[in-house]
């Protein structure tokens, strides 16, 4: 009959066959949950790419609303400037222009009010929408992925790690860039000067594009970069500044002359007007020498005065015209992470775990006990197997892409975002 050696060999070969089959079953089990993880990760990344495209489109609409606003604002300012000039003239032709301007004022006001309300209101609404979109679609996609997993593998569990839930990846106000793009578009579009065509003649020959460029700093303060804007293209501003400085200089001259006479008699200091002080420079000691030193010893810096008063007059006009600085709470948004195509905030990870078949676990444990000659009875920790997968969403600006030419600062305004599976952060399985 069979010898014990033959029995032993038989047991070993049977064990090896079982081990081989068991290992294959475990590999397929792992592959299956990896498939579930990939499906969930790609679904979630797809949802984020969809949100990114919606946000980019919100941004494009925001720019497209600001561009006509530049046109209407510039045209309106140019009309007011021409109208004021015409109405102040006694020329019969200009009086006709003045009458035309007067009749057009309600229309101008209505049009300006419409575009301002539309632009500010839409900016605020679209910005609010953009800032919340990722969290909403993430929850939606997770629910979808869970439902799908429950149908395919009821005993599997799914854990999602999505930074977009805590903080929107689109968290950086990008009003400055939006403003630049809007102005670029307005200048290139040929719409400037056409918000009110043929209404009246540009009697002053104003450059409407130049006005639009100078308005940028008033319409959106973020685009001004800390530089206070001036409306030097408007003759009334320069005229007002020059007139103010001439008056200041005259008052100063008068004060110095009076002080010199007074000094001769009583030795008192000349009284320099308070608002002229920033523009007066006197040589120390020379002011006491008498009348000859009246203004010769003190110099009035007219250029600086005109410059400052241009600034003040521009700000006053902008205020009376209803131009306020850009509202940071309602601007187009850009990704918080400058390096968005490889940043961790544009990545979502999913881990799927599923219990291993009980028979396979038992068999694995038995085999390990056998090959360890009974010393190890625990077997491998294969009760639950898990797999992780990540998905990312990005702007396809790689070489060969249709969108490779889109410069980085424009990418948040182009709805071409896409998604892909990315490597898992840690090894799958435990």
């Amino acid at each position: 009959m069979l010898t014990s050696a033959q029995f032993f060999l038989g047991a070993i070969s049977l064990g090896m066959a079982l081990f081989r089959g068991n290992e294959q079953a475990l590999v397929f089990h792992q592959e299956e949950i990896m498939g579930h993880a990939n499906a969930a990760a790609s679904r979630m990344a797809q949802a984020h790419a969809w949100a990114a495209n919606a946000i980019a489109n919100n941004n494009a609409i925001s720019v497209a609303l600001l561009s006509p606003r530049f046109t209407v604002e510039s045209d309106t300012l140019a009309m007011h400037e021409n109208g004021a000039f015409a109405c102040g003239s006694g020329n019969p032709f200009l009086q006709k222009v003045c009458a035309q301007y007067g009749r057009g004022i309600p229309r101008i006001t209505a049009k300006l009010g419409w575009i301002r309300t539309q632009q500010t209101g839409m900016w605020r609404s679209l910005s609010t929408l953009s800032s919340r979109l990722d969290a909403v679609v993430s929850a939606h996609a997770e629910a979808e992925a869970r439902a799908e997993l429950a149908a395919a593998a009821p005993d599997a569990e799914l854990v999602v790690s999505d930074p977009a839930r805590q903080r929107s990846p689109w968290g950086r106000p990008n009003g400055g860039r939006a403003c630049e793009l809007a102005l670029e578009d307005s200048l290139a579009s040929g719409t400037l000067g056409h918000a009110f065509p043929l209404l009246m003649i540009n009697v002053l020959g104003l450059s409407v594009p130049a006005i639009a460029g100078q308005l940028q700093g008033f319409v959106c303060s973020a685009a001004a970069g800390g530089v206070q804007p001036r409306l030097t293209s408007l003759p009334s501003i320069a005229k007002k500044a020059r007139r103010t400085c001439r008056e200041l200089e005259a008052r100063l001259r008068e004060a110095v002359q009076e002080a010199s006479y007074g000094e001769l008699r009583e030795g008192i200091e000349p009284h320099i007007p308070e608002d002229a002080k920033p523009y007066v420079e006197c040589e120390r000691g020379t002011r006491r020498r008498g009348r000859s030193a009246a203004l010769g010893a003190c110099t009035f810096q007219r250029d600086k005065c005109v410059e400052d008063n241009t600034l003040t007059a521009s700000a006053d006009l902008a205020k009376s015209f209803g131009l306020l600085g850009g509202d940071a709470s309602g601007t187009p948004l850009a990704p918080s992470d400058e390096n968005w195509n490889s940043g961790p905030s544009f990545r979502v990870c999913v881990e799927v775990s599923r219990p291993v078949d009980r028979e396979a676990t038992r068999l694995s444990r038995a085999i390990k006990t056998l090959v360890s000659f009974g010393t190890d009875t625990q077997g491998d920790d294969l009760v639950v197997s898990s797999a992780a997968a990540c998905g990312r969403w990005y702007f396809p600006d790689g070489e060969g892409s249709r969108f490779a030419s889109v410069e980085k600062s424009r990418q948040p305004f182009v709805a071409a975002w896409t998604h892909a599976l990315a490597g898992a952060p840690t090894g799958g399985g435990r």
Partner: protein, 175 residues
């Protein structure tokens, strides 16, 4: 000499015990070989089914999922689906934007785009023997789902100018 004598005495036949032993050993090896073959066939069939599902799913998911195009061991396998609920409606601001006449611009359709997925299913040929490695009715089936990548609705120059034309032309140009 003794063995030759024994063989002569038994008329050329080996003893029954030796025959039984030899038969048992040979049978054992036959069982082992058949077992190996069974495992191999089952593993191969399941691998074919898995590959048949994974590869088309991955290939189709690279594109906009316009239709089945890949094939596995059993013919066309990829099936495009837009299953599940569509993306949440964006409501208010988008309705307002639509009423401003912006709906006609290509990229506007992004808001209404339904996510597409590809589900690839593959089934192996019939395998012999018992159902092992998760087979049911002597066949293996595998299924993979992946999200597809839609073609961009925007253009590299972006839709800003098109939107602006609509906004300006509709309410602001001239009188």
């Amino acid at each position: 000499m003794t063995r030759a004598r024994r063989r002569r005495r038994s008329g050329g036949f080996a003893p029954v015990t030796a025959m039984l032993e030899a038969t048992a050993v040979v049978t054992w090896f036959v069982v082992l070989v058949l077992g190996e073959r069974l495992i191999h066939e089952a593993g191969y069939a399941r691998r074919a089914a898995e590959r048949g599902a994974v590869e088309p799913a991955a290939t189709l998911a690279q594109g906009p999922c316009t239709g089945p195009g890949a094939s596995g061991p059993r013919g066309p396998l990829g099936a495009v689906s837009t299953r599940g609920a569509p993306m949440p409606s964006l409501g208010g601001p988008i309705d307002v934007a639509a009423h401003l006449g912006l709906r006609g611009v290509g990229a506007f359709a992004v808001y209404a785009q339904r996510p597409k997925n590809v589900t690839a299913e593959a089934e192996s040929d019939t395998v012999r023997g018992h159902a092992i490695l998760g087979a049911s009715t002597h066949r293996f089936s595998a299924k993979r789902t992946r999200a597809c990548r839609d073609d961009s609705l925007d253009k590299p120059a972006s839709s800003i100018a098109t939107y602006r034309d609509t906004v300006f032309g509709r309410h602001l140009r001239g009188y």
